[in-house]
Amino acid sequence: MTIDVSTPVYEGPFDLLLHLILKEQVDIYEVDLSRIVDAYLGEMDRIQALDLDVATEFLLIAATLVELKTRRLLPGTADDDLDEEFAMWEERDLLLARLIECKTFKDVAQVFSRLADDADLSFPRTVGPDERFSSLMPDLLEGTSLRRFQSAAIRALTPRPEPTVDLFHVNPIRFTVAEAVAELCDELPRIGHISFRRLTADLAERLEVIVQFLAVLELFKQGLVEIDQTERFGDIDILWTGGADVDPSSVLVDAYEG
């Protein structure tokens, strides 16, 4: 299996569609279905070799979108066939409902991420009774089913992915230093302290990592973070020192873009 890192991350067709529509949210009366449909089809083109299940979902939604677009371009047909018109609306409503549901859980996921981050800051004590009590402990394997043992083995022997800081809730396409700075101003006060490797472990593209690095340097220049590298070529520790509320727009960013 090869991983095509040039493809941006979309968790599915709803995700893509949500992104495309909300990207245009600046002025909702400017929202242009044609452009959304084109962009959607364009993205589908880029995500070429998807597995069949996923591709089908993408296609189904593309079909609905194209149909919506046709409707809009041909206003006269509305009177011709009311049944068809209603069916269209129904389909549209269904898609809309699914989009809203998808958006709802995306927002919940952000809260989960925050809760988990906070919880990760504390380590529970799981030491158990000391040796003075070992004679009292029942046989610890008693009642352990083969199935429990099997799933422990699967759990233990499944390779672990590198720990990452997940910036999933940020737009999948994110290339400017200013955007990265804004993001870090939001994330770092909460996390407090993180290594650069962890910070960028989830980034697929080298360019994104470079942008992130420039953003960290920018924050360092502004005195908002401290940077520490204990050994040459070692990991870089980033410590937020900017306090709780930093307005990212106040952080001036030189134009690196281009």
Binding site: I21, R72, T104
Partner: protein, 222 residues
């Protein structure tokens, strides 16, 4: 009864309470998992309400004394854990035990399962628009979700729910502590933007009917 006798009785009661609190401290210290208040109550033979109150008093004492650890109620029980501002030291100590962070896909799937449990794989798929099999397996392997029941319908689909480990991962006591799903339903302007994006009618025509109302019966979650 004289005042002095009163005081004496009070002192004895205080001493006894102090002893119960010491027992609670000892038991929670040796436990592998959060200790439910009812188990503590059973062990020291005192009412649960009192046990819960004493646990809270202990928690407050450690906080007031600025201990490096805290007593927290997590996943239905009390446990000792390190204070969050000691993370850098503890992380350095348990260097290899880096906590795995969850990916966006995993978190979204967890969110759906947490609010809609018990829920089948197919239901998750229909909400996410993608096959969740891989993510579900990962979540199950990590112990955050588990098969909790079987659907009564034909096919008897496996139904998933969240586990105690999930509660621990999020640092909450029960799923009831999660914010109500209604808080997350997209705001009117986002719904409007989506609606506009998917407008059926031609541009010059107002989308008068057939519009979707977010407050309607289609609300996601409960």
């Amino acid at each position: 009864m004289t005042d002095e006798m009163h005081d004496k009785v009070d002192d004895q009661v205080d001493d006894q309470i102090a002893e119960f609190k010491r027992a609670i401290e000892a038991v929670i210290l040796v436990a592998h998992d959060p200790v439910p208040p009812d188990l503590l109550a059973q062990l020291i033979e005192q009412p649960i309400v009192l046990v819960e109150q004493w646990c809270e008093e202990l928690r407050d004492e450690y906080a007031a004394q600025r201990r490096g650890f805290e007593l927290r109620r997590v996943a239905g029980g009390f446990r000792y854990q390190t204070h969050h501002d000691q993370t850098p030291y503890v992380e350095r100590f348990v260097l290899h035990d880096q906590k795995a962070r969850l990916s966006g896909a995993a978190l979204e799937t967890l969110a759906i399962i947490a609010y809609k449990q018990p829920i089948s794989r197919a239901q998750v798929a229909s909400i996410r628009g993608v096959d969740p099999d891989g993510v579900i397996r990962t979540l199950q392997a990590r112990g955050y979700i588990d098969e909790v029941a079987r659907d009564h319908g034909p096919g008897q689909a496996v139904l998933f729910g969240t586990t105690a480990l999930f509660l621990e991962k999020l640092g909450i006591d029960t799923v009831d502590d999660l914010p109500p799903i209604a808080e997350f339903i997209p705001s009117a302007d986002i719904v409007e933007a989506l609606e506009h994006g998917l407008r059926v009618s031609p541009v010059d025509e107002a989308p008068s009917f057939g519009s979707f109302s977010p407050e309607g019966d289609r609300e996601p979650g409960h």
